[in-house]
Symmetry: C2
Subunit: 329 residues, 2 copies
C-alpha cells in the first residue's frame, strides 16, 4: 500500500523544486527593530461582479478599501433571505461598509477591526443582515482580522496558501451574520485573529461567491500570473463568475454540499444525476500585496504623522458596491 508505507520523504539536504522559491533577502521581516525605518503597507485591488439576476441593482455585496494607514479593507455580503420580507438586502451591507469607512479614524477604534465592526454595526440603521470581514495591516506587518460568517481570507506566500480563515455558520448555507435583529450575531461573535506578514505576501479576500466557486490551486495560479493586484482581483472574480454559471463544474460549493449529505432527488440519481455545478452569487474579490516603505527616522519617532494621515483618510477611502454590472452572456 503506497500511501501508508511511504516514510516522510524530506531529505536532510533540500532539493527545492525551483531556486526562485528562495530568493535571498527577498522577504523582509517587519521586526520591532526594523520598524524604525521600514513600514508595511498594502497595495489593494478589488473587483465586484453582481449575481447575474441582480446586475441591474448592483447586487448585495459591498466593500471598502483604504490604502492609507497601512491598509484596510472590508467586505460585507447582504443576506438575500431578506428579499422575502420585501427588504432590499443590499441596504444593510452598503450602510455597514459606509459606517466602517466613517469610523476608521474614530479614537476608540484604535486600529482594532473588532471595535470598528462594533461601531459600524451600532451606527447602521437599515433593516437586514450581512456577513462581514474587516482586515487592517499594522505598520509592523501584522494583519488584524475580524470576521463574522463566511467571507474568506487567504494569505499566499511563495506560491502556497499559508494562512486561511474558517467560515462560521449556524448550518449549511446559513452563515453567522451581523444583523439589525437581536437574534443575529455581533462583534462579540467575530473570529478575531492576526497573522504576521512579510514583504511580497498576497492577501486574497472575498465574499463566499468567490470561495464557493474557485479552488485554492486556481487562486494560487492566477496570483502567480497576474501583473498587478487590480488585474488579479479582476481575473479571480471573472473565473469565479465563469464557474458559478457552469452547471458541470464540480465547485467547492457542490463538493461541500455533497459532503454534508445534500443530493439531487432520487429520480435524478437513478438517471445518473449528481449534485454538481457552481453557485451563482454576488462575487467580491479584494487582492492586496504587502509592500514596504522607508520612513525617515524622525517621522517614525513623532506621533503626529499618523494623526495627520488619519485625518485625511476619509477622502482616500473607497466605498463601493458595484464595479461591474455587465450582464452574463
Amino acid at each position: 500500500m503506497v500511501a501508508s508505507t511511504a516514510s516522510r520523504l524530506s531529505p536532510p539536504r533540500f532539493s527545492t523544486p525551483s531556486p526562485s522559491l528562495h530568493p535571498p533577502n527577498r522577504r523582509s521581516r517587519f521586526s520591532p527593530v526594523r520598524a524604525a525605518k521600514l513600514e508595511a503597507v498594502l497595495s489593494i485591488g478589488a473587483h465586484l461582479i453582481p449575481h447575474p439576476r441582480k446586475a441591474a441593482s448592483g447586487g448585495e455585496d459591498a466593500f471598502f478599501a483604504n490604502s492609507d494607514a497601512g491598509g484596510v479593507f472590508a467586505i460585507a455580503d447582504g443576506v438575500s433571505g431578506w428579499a422575502e420580507k420585501n427588504v432590499n438586502p443590499a441596504l444593510f451591507s452598503r450602510e455597514l461598509m459606509r459606517n466602517s469607512s466613517n469610523f476608521l479614524n474614530d479614537e476608540a477604534v484604535s486600529h482594532d477591526p473588532q471595535i470598528l465592526l462594533m461601531k459600524a454595526h451600532a451606527a447602521t440603521s437599515s433593516i437586514g443582515s450581512a456577513t462581514v470581514i474587516i482586515a487592517m495591516l499594522e505598520k509592523t506587518g501584522t494583519l488584524k482580522i475580524a470576521s463574522v460568517g463566511d467571507c474568506g481570507l487567504k494569505v499566499i506566500r511563495k506560491g502556497q496558501v499559508m494562512f486561511s480563515i474558517s467560515p462560521q455558520e449556524h448550518y449549511f448555507d446559513c452563515p453567522y451574520q451581523i444583523s439589525s435583529e437581536a437574534e443575529g450575531q455581533t462583534y462579540k461573535d467575530a473570529l478575531v485573529c492576526s497573522v504576521n506578514l512579510m514583504e511580497g505576501d498576497i492577501i486574497v479576500s472575498g465574499s463566499d461567491g468567490l470561495f464557493d466557486n474557485i479552488f485554492d490551486q486556481e487562486i494560487v495560479s492566477i496570483i502567480s500570473e497576474s501583473p498587478s493586484v487590480d488585474e488579479a482581483a479582476k481575473a479571480l472574480a471573472e473565473l469565479a463568475r465563469k464557474h458559478s454559471v457552469d452547471v458541470r463544474f464540480d465547485s467547492p460549493y457542490s463538493m461541500e454540499a455533497r459532503s454534508r449529505g445534500f443530493d439531487v432527488p432520487w429520480w435524478k440519481k437513478l438517471l445518473g444525476g449528481k449534485l454538481i455545478g457552481g453557485k451563482m452569487d454576488d462575487i467580491t474579490v479584494v487582492v492586496a500585496q504587502v509592500k514596504t516603505v522607508v520612513v525617515p527616522e524622525d517621522e517614525v519617532q513623532g506621533g503626529d504623522t499618523e494623526e495627520q494621515k488619519g485625518n485625511e483618510q476619509g477622502a482616500a477611502a473607497v466605498v463601493a458596491y458595484k464595479m461591474n454590472d455587465e450582464e452574463v452572456a
Copy 2:
C-alpha cells in the same frame, strides 16, 4: 441544477438547530476591561503513540506542555530522512523541546513563541531537523502561535472548527523544518499568527501523524464526546492510529496525495487499484481547553505574581517524547 440555483438559505429569523448552541453568557470575552478579574488559562491533555515500527525507541515526535502562565505547549516531529544518514531523528526533536521548555521564562522570550523558537533552536546542538509548533495563551485569551512545517492546530468553538493553520512545505511530503543545517528553515520562516479565544474553546494540535489520518468531522465528534482533555487526546490519537494502519481507509493523506497527482502504478490501476489508506507515523495529540480563573484585583495590579509564577514554571513543565509505547495489535 440544485447547487447553482439555491439562494442563500439563511432566513431573517434564525431557526438554530439546537438551543444548546447559544447558552446565555456561556462565552466570556477576555476584554481588557474584564482582564482585571478574569484570566484565561489552558487545561491541557496530551497523548503520543509512536509509529508501529518505532514503538521500542519511542518514535521521533516530542512535545512539552506547561499549564503555568496561561498555558504553553509545543510539538516537534523529527524528520525521519535523517535515519538514512545514520542519525537518530529523535535526538533533534527531543532536544528542541527540552530547550523550548528551558527558555520559557527567559526574559528575551517575553511570551513570544517565535522568539522562544529562535532561542530553543540556537541552543540545540543535535544533528537533525524537525517540524515544530509552539502555542502560548495570553491571560487576555489570545493564543499566539509560531509554526514551521506541517504540525497542525485547530480551534473548535460551538461544535465547529473556527480556526485552523495551514501547513508549509517545499513540496508534497517535504515540510518546512527547523534544522541543524544552514539549508533548513529558522524562526524567521515560521507562520506566526494569533487568535482570540473564548471560554470553552478547544484547541486540538498535533503532528502530521494526527491530521493525515483523521478528518475534521471526526475531531469535532470526538471532542464533543470526551469528558476531559486527557481522554480527548487519547481518543484522537487512538482513532488516528487505527486509521493509519488501515489500508482501506481513504485518509486525508491519501486524498491529498491523489489531488497532487500521485497514484498507484499503472498495472495496479488496471486491476482497479487506487492510492488509498492511512499513513503510518508517530502521532502526537495535544488537546487544550480555555478556562477562566478569577484573580483578585490586587494580584492583577502587582507585577510580582507573574514573576514568581515564572520562576516556578520549570518544575511544572512536562517534556515528553513517549507516553504510549504499546505495540500495534
